[in-house]
Subunit: 455 residues, 2 copies
């Protein structure tokens, strides 16, 4: 009967300690989202497979977790289909629902479904888990949280500036030093046009996106293998080797992309966003990086990526503008821009740098030792007052050895232990021990409340 309990591979339990740290991150992100007027929505974990399938490519379809239909799931499966053992066909018969793969497709579905009731521009945030049947490995999970903020129904570049400002505030509050990289899809299009290889834009962006990892020579090698002419590769070089300030880069781009209307539009957009962001004054800098591509087929304007400066890790936040998110659900022409905070990677960064507030995992401020019926009854009264005053407090529920109760306070990192023994009971007082310094003092209940409220 007894089973050795475990959880599915690629999933995680979160202990109180881990939850406290994760909540610190989520609460920080949420509070910033709210200051910026983003409003929360939630969508169901299960979506119809018709909503999810075909949105993430063929590989994505395979990575969707599918839910077996309830009741007689074999009802509509014919003998021939069984004999054939065609997995795709069988899946369609056995399953109608799947687990959310990201927050973007459910958001697009949401916008279209409630379009009549939504006030545009609609600024929403959403923090929920997503599921992917990826092969689990270090840092890659089958269940993980996404934290997305998007605004749809506005073309204004103020939205981009605001998203950058939001990134700045989140990481300032988390005390993580970051670099923001920024680009514009129209500049990538302009580059492809200007080097005479407009039709190879996908190959070009996929290749140059790797420049940080593999270097310019290997990028050029890859471009050659994709059939780019030597002339095109030579014309590309100054763009990839471009450096200096944002202002210098924008000037260079204006010159190099002068012949491409789309390219020049991209330069103008990029200038507006970067200058707008700078003019407001922020802690971190947005650096123009024309090699930045991120899911090219998705973004149509601004592209944003954030990296931590003090930890070797992939991008910890990313986003951009898309112009046809809702088209697939029959609502074309709605422009949107958004960012997604990578909660799990941010968690790794904060863990590595130990950037949590000291009391992040504090369960309660004070534990009352339990010496027996009468003493506990008096303690319970004081505990109740403390809680009403907003001080987290608890009474050790069992009458146990002093050593055990102190050990409990210690292992739970409870900063104060309160003692109501026989003497204190008679005097109507409380003995309070500061667990860090070992200092003890005898206080009236009122003094105790006052002290712990400010501790």
């Amino acid at each position: 009967m007894a089973q050795k309990p475990s959880i599915p591979k690629g999933t995680r339990d979160f202990s109180p300690n881990e939850m406290a740290r994760r909540n610190y991150i989520f609460d920080t992100i949420k509070s910033v989202f709210r200051l910026y007027g983003y409003q929360q929505i939630e969508t169901p974990a299960m979506e119809n497979l018709s909503t999810l399938m075909g949105k993430y490519g063929e590989e994505g379809d395979k990575l969707l977790f599918k839910i077996l239909n309830s009741g007689d799931f074999m009802k509509s499966v014919g003998e021939e289909e069984l004999a054939e053992r065609n997995l795709v066909k069988l899946t369609n018969k056995l399953c109608e629902k799947g687990l959310r793969y990201d927050l973007t497709v459910p958001f697009a579905r949401f916008v279209v479904q409630y379009r009549g009731q939504l006030q545009m521009p609609f600024k929403r945030y959403q923090i929920q888990p997503v599921w992917r049947a990826d092969r689990p490995q270090k840092g890659r999970y089958r269940e993980f949280y996404q934290c997305d903020a998007d605004v749809v129904g506005s073309d204004s570049l103020w939205n981009e500036i605001e998203l950058l400002s939001m990134i700045d505030m989140v990481f300032s509050r988390l005390k993580v030093r970051v670099a923001i990289k920024i680009n514009n899809r129209k500049i990538l299009t302009g580059i492809a046009e200007i080097i005479g290889e407009a039709d190879k834009i996908v190959d070009i962006t996929v290749a140059i996106d790797k420049i940080d990892k593999i270097g310019i020579d290997n990028v050029n090698e890859e471009l050659r293998s994709k059939g780019l002419s030597e002339e095109a590769i030579e014309r590309l070089r100054p763009l990839l080797e471009m450096n200096g300030s944002n202002e210098e880069k924008l000037t260079t781009l204006s010159t190099l992309l002068a012949e491409s209307e789309t390219g020049m539009k991209g330069v103008e957009e990029l200038r507006t966003v970067v200058e707008g962001f700078d003019s407001l004054g922020h802690n971190c800098v947005a650096d123009i990086d024309v090699s930045l591509a991120r899911g090219l087929n998705y973004y149509t304007g601004t592209i944003i990526e954030v990296k931590a400066l003090d930890v070797q890790i992939g991008s910890i936040t990313g986003g951009g503008r898309y112009d046809n998110l809702t088209g697939v659900f029959g609502m074309p022409g709605l422009s949107g821009v958004g960012i997604s905070f990578g909660a799990d990677r941010i968690y790794d960064v904060l863990n590595q740098l130990n950037l949590y507030p000291e009391d992040v995992a504090e369960s309660v401020k004070v534990l009352f030792v339990n010496f027996g019926e009468k003493e506990a009854a008096a303690a319970a009264k004081t505990v109740k007052i403390l809680r009403e005053e907003g001080v987290a407090a608890e009474l050790y529920p069992d009458v146990a050895k002093m050593k055990k109760q102190m050990g409990f306070a210690d292992s739970e990192s409870i900063p104060y232990v309160a003692i109501i023994g026989e003497t204190e009971l008679q005097e109507g007082k409380v003995n309070l021990k500061d667990m860090a310094t070992g200092k003890q003092e005898t206080l009236t209940p009122e003094e105790l409340v006052e002290k712990l409220k400010n501790a």
Copy 2:
């Protein structure tokens, strides 16, 4: 290509307005859990089916949502099994994982899995969705949240008193008037013994649990149909007709159950809990109700149920003590007690009585109108200062007609609109309109910040 988007039946999307109201409830419950020293954990949405199956009865097994195995899910399905079309056998072959059905079984699994690392008593809370393939109907969903708080590893009745106190604080803060009903499983056992029908305890408790709904005559009829003797039914009557204060009921019970050791133990436990709760002074009253049973086979001591006084609805919170939660996972002898807040029903109650704070759905405190590039740039600077000072604020991103922007503020219930037009720009001031009163005043940015921080 275009699909009319929808979500699976029995599931829900939550709009910003609904989320604000739900967050108000969840945040209230969470803040109370924390004041009492309960610490949060989270478990994965997917559990191994071996963890879930057999824990909720045969009917429950059918109501589990099962996840189709990834990859070649037909691999281990033999020809004979296919031909046979045995759903149970096929499910076992096709699926290894299922969605969480409640928070209790995952918690039990968690406690056993990490028993070496957990400090006892372990007080945990958990607020996560659960999924059930129930037939959807009004007020019953296939995805809904549970809010559980449990303490394991302590037999002390202080835990019960604390849980009652927590119920009191949650509903006091939510301004919902409630009645707490309380019973003890040992009293039910005692009753069955005393009327000479110990072996019929399940039938007896199932029947008397319905007394509020169907009345004593129908309860007796049901008991007769289950084979209870007329004598037993007569001996039961005074117990069911018992009324008066808790003290009077405890006295009556002590007399009537004097011959049952278990029954008398139950009376003592009940007295300790009720008197302990009363002695601390609370807003709501815990009333003894010996007909209260709730999932009898589960609870072994205290049984708790909460009903709203001003809305006709089922129980909105419930719980009790169980002595063998972890036995099925190979860890016997661990006692626990817990309660579960029914978030969806509490949401219904607050909606019906309109008990939300006035500003619950407020997105931002102030919207800055966008009159064009220069004005917007000045507005963006003030918006940034407001946000840094903790005031949620936004700039309308697009240059649109005044009427449209004011209409946006109105439909989003934004209490203030700030205007920086040509005049204000020259004077370095902001014109602020109170949307409720229509009153306008011209302020310096510093005055504006001060005013809105306190608004």
